[in-house]
């Protein structure tokens, strides 16, 4: 893959990308500089601990080295030089020990208090979180459901999460198979997705941009390729995006795409859902508005027609172990399906 | 015979260690068997701690719905608990009789413990057969039968130990001075009893105490 995070023109909106690009382009998983909460609250203590750690190691290493170099006796024959053995000096030595212990204790106390304060700080978002997103981990993709009190506004998508900037978003996390972990380093810390248990998490993106997330708990063969993308955009763009998602897909117009739709229903619809195209499978990711996403196979491939054909032709070669089967369709049939999928643009 | 008292000198003739006549063989709490049994009991106790931890974890996590519709009743378990406690008492009386060199009394008390233990086992088997669920029905069923099953295995072992001790006591192997095996066996039996109390408290009492 050439670049992990690409600048995407979304719904004709240019993202305000300066900061996000700075992190996104070069260090997609970097979390020592964050762009939202609770990451923002965690970073200071992380730096604090890091400096403490470096400080301690430097001091101890210096003490050991100095001790060795200053005190070493050269040319001692351990078998013979009996005078070399010196009696213990526990009385004065222990004073240093108690001093060192006191320093350790003092440093630890500071960090225990700091830890507790940070924990209390990141427990809940400041103020209400108006948006709740349910995420279900699957081997090896993310099922994303935007919840709403108005049932007609609920919809499902996969592997790409859009959130409005500056608004806390709540997550309900669970898993369909094994334990996964939801992690978007540049914005938020991790929370596990555990089958049979619902965990909650929240975050608030402060800077518009595209952030990479990844499964952080080993979940099987393709754990490494279970990425997700968080697109943080202005609340207006976010609302527009949500409205767009609710649109049913546009019926294909060309002959080849129509044929592709039929073939899709026959071969793919058992697992994949496309709203409005009479395909209702639930095993695999929802493919409505597929072309609006920027990657395929949960963040593995950029979403280009070429990669799309490769993926539908033989998924197992690209992502060994994937649960998506090979369909053994002929070349023209694959072309037709691809043509149909390419029409799944931004709705009506 | 071992040299069991004396004085040790170093090379220069200084006195290093003086000690009196030492007892030997297995005496009281200082015998190897006693230490071995104690460490065994610690291990077994840890096993039951893990099992009960699993139970409480599930119970707290899933609440009332996780428990069976019909909570475990005291009808059978109440009397069986009393029986087991009594058997501990009789076993203790048996040990006392050995200490007092009363062979007949010891055998009598030990046989009583044996019988009470057997009755407990019988009641427990009856209770098992009355349960509407099996070990593989749900996680509650698994835990119920695993925990009570492990306890039953300990009861069975305890009964065999008591049986052997009763026979040996009857033929006069033990008296007030050499009675370690009796004490150790009785300690094991007390342990089985104590474990039952925690199991009973967990499965029977807590469910009624904290019923929502």
């Amino acid at each position: 893959m050439r670049r992990t995070i690409r600048h995407i023109p979304l719904l004709g909106t240019a993202l305000a990308p300066a900061a996000a690009q700075a992190q996104g382009e070069n260090r997609p998983m970097w979390y020592l500089e964050t762009f939202g909460s609770p990451g923002n609250e965690i970073t200071p203590i992380l730096w604090g601990l890091l400096w403490l750690a470096i400080g301690v190691v430097v001091i101890i290493a210096a003490l050991v080295l100095a001790g060795v170099f200053l005190k070493t006796q050269r040319g001692v024959d351990m078998r013979r030089d009996q005078e070399a053995v010196s009696p213990p000096h526990d009385h004065s030595a222990l004073r240093w020990m108690y001093g060192g212990l006191f320093a350790t204790l003092a440093a630890l106390s500071v960090f225990v208090v700091w830890t507790m304060m940070t924990m209390a700080d990141i427990r809940q978002p400041d103020g209400e979180a108006p948006i709740t997103i349910a995420i279900t981990g699957h081997q090896w993709w993310w099922q994303v459901t935007y919840l709403s009190e108005d049932e007609s506004r609920i919809f499902e998508t996969a592997n790409e999460i859009h959130v409005p900037v500056g608004v806390p978003v709540k997550f309900r996390l669970t898993s369909a198979d094994v334990i996964h972990s939801f992690w978007v380093p540049a914005i938020a810390s991790k929370t596990d997705l555990i089958p049979g248990q619902e965990n909650t998490a929240w975050f608030r993106a402060d800077t518009p941009g595209v952030y990479r997330g990844q499964c952080a708990e080993y979940c099987g063969k393709q754990h490494a390729n279970m990425a997700l993308r968080v697109v943080a955009e202005s609340p207006e763009d976010f609302d527009a995006w949500w409205d767009m998602q609710l649109e049913p897909v546009e019926m294909p117009e060309t002959e080849v795409a129509k044929m592709g739709m039929e073939l899709f229903r026959l071969n793919c619809a058992a697992c994949h859902n496309i709203r409005g195209a009479m395909a209702g499978g639930e095993m695999g990711p929802d493919l409505s508005h597929l072309m609006e996403r920027t990657t395929l196979a949960s963040g593995m491939l950029p979403n280009t027609p070429g990669h799309l054909s490769g993926w539908i032709a033989n998924p197992d070669v690209i992502k060994p172990g994937t649960l998506m089967p090979r369909t053994d369709l002929s070349g023209p049939e694959l072309d037709a399906i691809r043509a149909f999928l390419l029409t799944l643009d931004q709705g009506a | 015979m071992a040299e069991t008292s004396g004085t040790i000198m170093d090379e220069r003739g200084n006195e290093v260690l003086t000690f009196g006549r030492q007892g030997f063989g297995s005496i009281d709490g200082r015998s190897n068997g006693w230490w071995g049994t104690m460490t065994l009991l610690a291990t077994e106790a840890a096993l039951f701690v893990y099992l009960l931890f699993s139970y409480y974890y599930m119970a707290f996590h899933y609440g009332r719905t996780w428990l069976p519709a019909e909570l475990p009743s005291f009808t059978l378990s109440g009397p069986s608990t009393v029986i087991l406690i009594t058997s501990s008492l009789t076993a203790w009386m048996g040990e006392r009789s050995v200490k007092k060199d009363s062979r007949g009394g010891a055998v009598l008390w030990l046989v009583a413990s044996l019988l009470l233990g057997a009755v407990f086992m019988g009641i427990q088997l009856k209770e098992w057969s009355d349960k509407p669920f099996m070990i593989d029905t749900d996680s509650y069923g698994s835990l119920y039968f695993t925990v009570t099953g492990f306890h039953m295995a300990h009861v069975a072992v305890g009964l065999l130990v008591l049986l052997a001790l009763t026979v040996w006591t009857a033929v006069g192997k033990f008296d007030s001075r050499r009675r370690d095996p009796v004490s150790i066996g009785v300690i094991y039996w007390h342990f089985v009893d104590a474990v039952w109390l925690t199991v009973f408290f967990t499965f029977y009492v807590t469910t009624h105490l904290f019923q929502p």
């Binding site: 030595a93 507790m116 | 220069r12 200082r30 050499r178």
Partner: protein
């Protein structure tokens, strides 16, 4: 649930791995410092404390699993506190170097670097003990670096040092100092080249247990360093193996006590005779071989005269803390019962595997009978009332 059970076992397990290595260092480092360990009692207490606390910190592997706030705080606190006993040991080792007059030999190189490796593994542990920090660090290469410093830094360095230290006692021959120094250089350099940058990989957000990652992640060069380092480390280990092999065949004879060490094992020949000591030695201090040179303890140890136990298999049982003679225990002598029990157990478990229920029942019965025979109270072992009366 399963995670709880796993970590409740696996965290104490880590301490079970590192504590013996720490003990070896506490035992052998002072020999090269020509000075008894500073704060011996404190170190002993610290070791015991570590093990006890070690049973109460397992949840720090599971901070991200949605555990309630209160229990997170508790386990975070416990994980911070466990630093204190480790700090005691580290200070004790450093002070032993400072107050002693170290002689640099291969084991000393390992032990001295061990202290620093221990510290690195320790402070990265402190970082992950902080819940918020762990929310980010958990599951990244930072944790991988941490565990390597703990297991290799603490265990391997301690054990390799101990190998060089006790090899003469085990084999009667010395290992080559020159080859040993080279091996140490490769192991120390390779290990740190491999695993120090790995902290950085983790801080850059690389999740663990991935076989591939996007090219743009910026992790490439650090991982390359790690790869190079691990090959150097492996080469160093190979040198150690060569060193052992060479030592066994061509090593210089070691004599009883090549390091002029103070403890009991160095009083017998190298390798030690099968019976160790002809009579149980009586000790007056922790350093029986340095007693003449240290103003320590009241008496002097007697290594060659001790109580004689000559009536069958017997051993002296002493009191737990003061080691005063307490009881002569009779050890069981040769008997066929354990073997028969084993045969019966083989029948029992084999039958279970093959679903032969009758055989299994027979096996179980046989086991019980064998146990009964094995445990039958015996007069000659003073297990019955009979012996007691005329004994």
């Amino acid at each position: 649930m399963w995670q709880h059970l796993f970590w409740i076992f696996a965290h104490p397990w880590v301490y079970i791995i590192v504590l013996p290595a720490m003990g070896m260092v506490s035992d052998a480092l002072p020999v090269f410092c020509r000075q008894p360990l500073v704060g011996y009692t404190l170190v002993v207490i610290a070791t015991i404390t570590t093990m006890i606390l070690g049973f109460g910190v397992w949840v720090h592997h599971m901070f991200a699993t949605g555990i309630p706030f209160m229990s997170l705080s508790f386990f975070s606190g416990a994980s911070f506190i466990i630093t204190i006993p480790s700090a005691v040991s580290v200070f004790a080792w450093i002070l032993t170097i400072w107050y002693g007059k170290p002689v640099v030999k291969v084991p000393f190189l390992y032990f001295a670097s061990f202290i620093v490796m221990f510290t690195i593994g320790g402070v990265s542990g402190v970082m992950t003990a902080s819940v918020p920090a762990d929310f980010q660090l958990h599951g990244t290469y930072f944790v991988v670096a941490h565990i390597h410093y703990v297991l290799i830094g603490i265990n391997l360095f301690g054990v390799l040092g101990a190998l060089y230290f006790w090899f003469p006692k085990m084999s009667g021959r010395m290992m080559s100092e020159r080859l040993g120094t080279w091996a140490f250089a490769f192991i120390f350099g390779g290990f740190n080249l491999a695993f120090l940058p790995m902290h950085w990989t983790g801080l850059m957000g690389m999740p663990r247990r991935v076989y591939t990652y996007p090219e743009g992640a910026g992790w490439g060069w650090v991982n390359m360093t790690t790869t190079v380092g691990s090959f150097l480390l492996a080469f160093g280990i190979l040198l150690v193996l060569v060193n052992v092999w060479h030592g066994l065949r061509r090593g210089k004879p070691a004599g009883d006590n090549p390091w002029d060490a103070p403890t009991l094992e160095w009083a017998v020949s190298s390798p030690p005779p099968p019976y160790n000591f002809a009579t149980a030695p009586v000790l007056a201090s922790r350093h029986p071989l340095w007693e003449d040179r240290l103003p320590e303890g009241s008496g002097r140890s007697s290594l060659h005269h001790g109580p004689l136990l000559d009536d069958g298999k017997e051993a002296m049982l002493t009191t737990v803390l003061d080691a005063e003679p307490d009881l002569v225990v009779k050890m069981p002598d040769d008997t066929l019962w354990p073997f028969l029990t084993t045969v019966a157990m083989t029948v029992f478990f084999g039958a279970l595997l093959l679903h032969l229920w009758t055989w299994a029942a027979a096996g179980l019965g046989a086991i019980l009978l064998c146990m009964l025979g094995w445990l039958w109270p015996r007069d000659d072992l003073a297990q019955t009332s009979k012996e007691a009366h005329h004994g």
